[in-house]
Amino acid sequence: MHELSVAHAVVSTVVDALPSPPPRVLGIRVRVGELSGIVPRALEFAYDVAAQDTPLADAALVIEVSPVVIDCPACGPQQLASTHDFRCPVCGTPCGAVIGGKELEILDVTLDDTCVSEDMVEVSA
């Protein structure tokens, strides 16, 4: 499974975005589309392994699953109930134009602000 490579990518992307010295990270939120090829439970498991010995070691991972949305030529954006029936739920037209559901992105990071300011005090002292 490639969830471990994806989990390492999640961790390194967040770590690279942190200021130096890294503040304590309390949590991160990741959006995983139903068409991303990622199994949320497998990613959770792999994340715990990938986060060890990094500034994310104590950071809880929250996965937000986003559904498949097609852009029906007649009805506009429509959410699909399943990933194996690409027909507009309103008019029944087959439609492969996907505008949502492939996401694999980090939404935000929750930092311990007290920790950040303490670090800053130490640096300036």
């Binding site: 194996h84 939404l107 935000d108």
Partner: protein, 224 residues
């Protein structure tokens, strides 16, 4: 303790996507068509590719292949019999190819001389679907021995593929392959897919597939 939420909005596979976009621009620049073949083990992918490369040589189409393999180089040796240049990418247990591996393994090859480059991905229907390799066309293979519902079981891959190649059609009668059900399953997850039915034993469909992959058709030109 106060918590502060910082918005990041970064694609997890951004590095791979950027490298893939660079490869795609490089391929377009030298005018080589690139396809990324994905299937489960046992679909007859290597046999089909061997025949396709040999047919390309016969027809004067300059083709080459990059073969992703976990450990052995059996596939690469077999494919080299076709007369086309073949290189192996040993993934050392990794279940998919990534764009940086493609870039590394192209060094020293004169891409300008090529008409067609086939990337044979690692035999796996799940993991390769997340990784863009800079290809023009993603090809999913489906053998008649696998069951007609495979596209519905692996919608991520079949949805993201431009071409679905049915393999081993010479065995269709023997395994009671339900062609209509299979085509319906493909259409259910990917209404825009082009389906090509092939047999490496009889050679059926090979020229059609070669034409499709070595010519830039308007439908397949759209970005994936």
């Amino acid at each position: 303790m106060t918590a502060r939420i910082v918005e990041l909005r970064k694609g997890v596979l951004e590095k791979n996507d950027l490298l893939a976009a660079g490869l795609r621009a490089q391929f377009a620049d030298v005018d080589v068509r690139v396809s990324n073949w994905v299937s489960s083990p046992g679909t007859g992918k290597t046999a089909l590719l061997e025949l396709l490369l040999a047919r390309a040589v016969e027809r004067g189409i300059v083709a080459a292949a990059l073969v992703g393999d976990c450990a052995t180089d059996n596939d690469a040796q077999r494919l080299a019999r076709s007369g086309a240049p073949v290189r192996q990418i040993v993934t050392e247990g990794m279940c998919h190819l990534e764009a940086d591996m493609i870039g590394e393994h192209l060094s020293g090859w004169d891409l300008r001389a090529l008409d067609l480059l086939v990337i044979e991905n690692v035999g796996n229907l799940v993991c390769p679907s997340s990784y863009d390799l800079g290809e023009d066309v993603r090809v999913a293979l489906l053998s008649v021995t696998e069951g007609e519902d495979k596209p519905v079981k692996y919608p991520q891959l079949f949805h993201s593929s431009d071409v679905v190649v049915v393999t081993k059609t010479d065995l269709a009668a023997a395994v009671e392959w339900d062609r209509d059900a299979a085509l319906a399953a493909v259409a259910a997850v990917n209404p825009d897919a082009t389906v090509v039915e092939t047999s490496a034993r009889t050679g059926a469909g090979i020229d059609d597939l070669l034409d499709l992959l070595s010519t830039r058709t308007p439908h397949l030109q759209e970005a994936p």
